[in-house]
Amino acid sequence: MRHYISFAFLLICFSINAQNNVIKSVSEVDSIFSPKLTGGFYVQERQYQGDLFFNNKFVKSDILLSTGEMLYGELLKYNGYLDEVIWMNHTNYKQFIIDKAYISDFWTKDSLDHPAHFRRINVRDTTISHRDIFVEVVIEGKLSLYIQHQILCIPDEITYSSDGQARYIKTFEPMPLYYIKLPSDKYLKMHKLGRRSFLNLFPEQKKSIYRLVKKNHLNLKSVKGLIGTIDLMNKESIID
């Protein structure tokens, strides 16, 4: 019995050791040559009220770079005010803004630990120029729904300290924007959720969408209702 066990043990040890050799060399390629992130120093806001980030904590996230390469497990958080991705470098614990053009997509988590997929898209601004923004990918299909988790700074609020000195404190508030991508690759933008504003985006299909919303008791004043409506529009091919 003792000999059997010793022999078996030897074989197992040998095989595990041998396996390590090869697997190490193959996986090493990915770890040694993983792409290096580039970015600028992030100067943190001080003295403000509200939240600047999609999730205030740094979360282990995956990044798809514009070069097509993937990076896994980087500590990220999305700053909705700057519309930039903040990266915590794990060797020096400093925070950097990753070059926007370098990121194609990233997968992170919200404050409730729900997964969220963000993508850099190019949309037409009110200033007529195109600009790159990060949006959360909610639905992808014939009609796609993206949410820009925009944070706006409202005018400074003056507070007075105990010694009577005036202090200007910035307040940040979430102001999400909703982008609906048409099959023609055009984007429709919604500032506020609501049935009327949504139906106005599709003047030709207004009636059919109205019937669909009514029939399925969808509340277009909520994100859930918006998602349900677009899902159904995709299923019933309301937009060609």
Binding site: L11, S25, K36, L37, T67
Partner: protein, 573 residues
């Protein structure tokens, strides 16, 4: 109960052992190099198809994306060295044999990076005969070998069977060849070439794969990594005094470009650093620098030659018994005629890059650009800094300059750390190299006034100078720097079948020894595959040779012969 446990344990361990043996071999490769012919005249092109196999599955390997091919004469350094991009275990192209190659037998060696871990005996070797166009003495010798004489066997018994519409053809006649269907989809290289009267030893893909053994060598920490993404450049930083590797040294790599570009790697415990060379670096001169070498230290950088073979080829050569001179004279004449008439149009240039390679740009953010030509001429860089670069400061201690950049994110104060300096896109190892540059030499200066990060490296601003006439080339590398020419990947040319009817002038000669070459012909599973080509005025026997592999790893090897006769000669007889 104990017996059951005993037996189960034993069986489990044996099964596990067997499974692991397979895993050991996973990532181990073999290659096979198929060429259009085995005898060439110097100046001709060698068309090749490289197959890379997984030694366990015997299927085409998906691991290595780079293959290496060398051509060498006995007891000589390699005459040609090329690297090719391997896609799904295959790579094809051509290499032009220099006109000046002396006559003799040459060896083609093919391998991948991971194969270097197990020794050169596992590389693929193949002999070809090259004859100089002006050699009339023809004192040729072949390698004494037990391998098959390729000119002696024309097998048609193995799949795929080769069928031609006729057995004998006249000059300038269309030949239709049909290859039988295979059990599963397969890719083969097909060549139709004049049967050489000179002995050539070569192994078929079937023989090569059957003889392949899984090397048992154990990998060490310095093992070569599979080039699964791109070519890997390996180098070593050593202490010149102790000759030992320097651990944790940072090596910068950049190359000549209109934008500052940078890649870095750190050395391991053996002083080895490795860098992934994307297509961006292909054919460029690479500038390496050891960053922040401590004062008083003598560190040196060495770049490993990916092609290096430890020993020269020393074959035992024997004289030919058969008379081959007429065949060689004819080959020389055909090459001479085709060169004289400029009839080398049967080859097409392939595109060099499918996609524009990504430049490892140091910064993508906005920088302040200054064009010295917009200002009055200034005699030196320190003068330029004082007059037109307000965010840069130069100080001088003991005759040495130091630069500092005003960092906007740090309240517009000068950083106490030196910025990175670039000249023509290349990281400059010594600021003294730019001090003498004046307005007449500088085209543009970019100043990056921000703290930046690249991987784990933080730097405090950057100054990038683009000169009018690539001044970086004329600078002398510092002791901690090195320049290295990165060879372009071989793409070569592709073969084009010429229809003799398309030749307008009927007095133009049309002699060919290679009638057809297709490195990647796909054989169908449920139908025969046909291809066609034309015979030339060269009357001889031609070999149709098919070598390849199916999707399930079955090697395919077959050959057949067709005859090209001159009907006028036949009538006279």
């Amino acid at each position: 109960m104990m017996t059951i446990i005993k037996r189960t344990l034993f069986i489990l361990s044996v099964v596990l052992f067997c499974c692991k043996m397979n895993v050991i071999a996973a990532g181990q490769e073999a290659v096979y190099l198929q060429t259009d012919r085995t005898t060439y005249i110097a100046g001709e092109s060698v068309f090749y198809q490289l197959y890379v196999f997984d030694l366990v599955t015997k299927k085409r390997s998906d691991l290595s994306k780079v293959g290496y091919i060398e051509l060498r004469a006995p007891k000589s350094d390699p005459a040609l060295k090329i690297w090719v991009k391997v896609d799904a275990g295959m790579a094809s192209g051509s290499l032009v044999l220099p006109d000046t190659l002396p006559s003799g037998v040459y060896q083609m060696v093919a391998f991948t990076s991971v194969m270097k871990n197990f020794g050169e005996q596992y590389f693929f070797h193949k002999e070809i005969m090259i004859v100089n166009r002006f050699d009339k003495k023809l004192d040729l010798r072949s390698v004494k070998s037990s391998s098959n004489d390729s000119s002696q066997y024309h097998r048609t018994d193995k799949l795929p069977w080769i069928k031609t519409d006729k057995a004998v053809y006249g000059p300038r006649e269309k030949v239709i060849v049909t290859l039988g269907k295979t059990d599963i989809k397969a890719n083969v290289a097909v060549s139709v070439y004049e049967e050489p009267q000179i002995k050539a030893t070569e192994k078929s893909i079937v023989e090569t794969l059957n003889e392949c053994v899984v090397p048992a060598t154990k990998l060490t920490s310095t093992a070569y990594l599979p080039e699964s993404k791109a070519r890997i450049l390996r180098g070593r930083v050593i202490d010149e005094t102790t000759r030992e590797g320097v651990q944790a040294a940072t090596v910068f790599l950049s190359c000549l470009d209109s934008v500052a570009n940078l890649q870095y790697a750190s050395t391991d415990s053996n002083g080895i650093f490795q860098m992934l060379l994307s297509d961006y670096y292909s054919g460029k001169e690479l500038f390496f620098t050891i960053k922040d070498m401590p004062v008083g230290q003598k560190w040196k950088m060495e770049i490993e030659d990916n092609f290096i073979l430890s020993e020269k080829w020393k074959p035992e050569l024997i004289s030919y018994k058969r008379d081959f001179k007429d065949y060689i004279y004819k080959s020389q004449d055909i090459v001479y005629i085709n060169k004289s008439f400029g009839l080398d149009e049967s080859v097409n240039e392939n595109p060099i890059f499918e996609n524009k390679p990504n430049c490892p740009q140091l910064y993508r953010s906005t920088v302040k650009s200054v064009y010295p030509s917009d200002f009055v001429p200034l005699d030196s860089f320190p003068e330029i800094v004082i007059e037109i670069l307000p965010t840069v400061k130069l100080t001088r201690h003991d005759g040495k300059y130091q630069a500092y950049v005003m960092i906007s994110s740090q309240g517009n104060t000068y950083s106490d750390r030196e910025p990175l300096i670039f000249l023509d896109g290349v990281y400059v190892d010594d600021i003294q190299k730019i001090i003498d540059l004046n307005s007449a030499k500088i085209k543009k200066i970019d100043v990056l006034d921000n703290v930046r990060i690249l991987g784990d490296l933080i730097f405090y601003g950057a100054v990038s100078i683009i000169s009018k006439s690539n001044e970086i080339i004329s600078t002398v590398p510092a002791p901690n720097s090195l320049r290295y020419k990165n060879e372009n990947r071989n793409v070569g040319k592709s073969f084009v079948v010429v229809n003799p009817d398309s030749i307008k002038d009927h007095h133009t000669p049309f002699f060919k020894q290679l009638l057809y070459w297709n490195p990647n012909l796909e054989l169908k599973k449920d139908d025969n595959t046909a291809f066609d080509f034309y015979t030339s005025d060269n009357t001889a026997n031609f070999i149709i040779k098919v070598e390849g592999i199916s999707e399930n790893g079955t090697p395919i090897s077959a050959s057949s012969v067709i005859k090209v006769n001159n009907p006028i000669n036949v009538t006279v007889k």
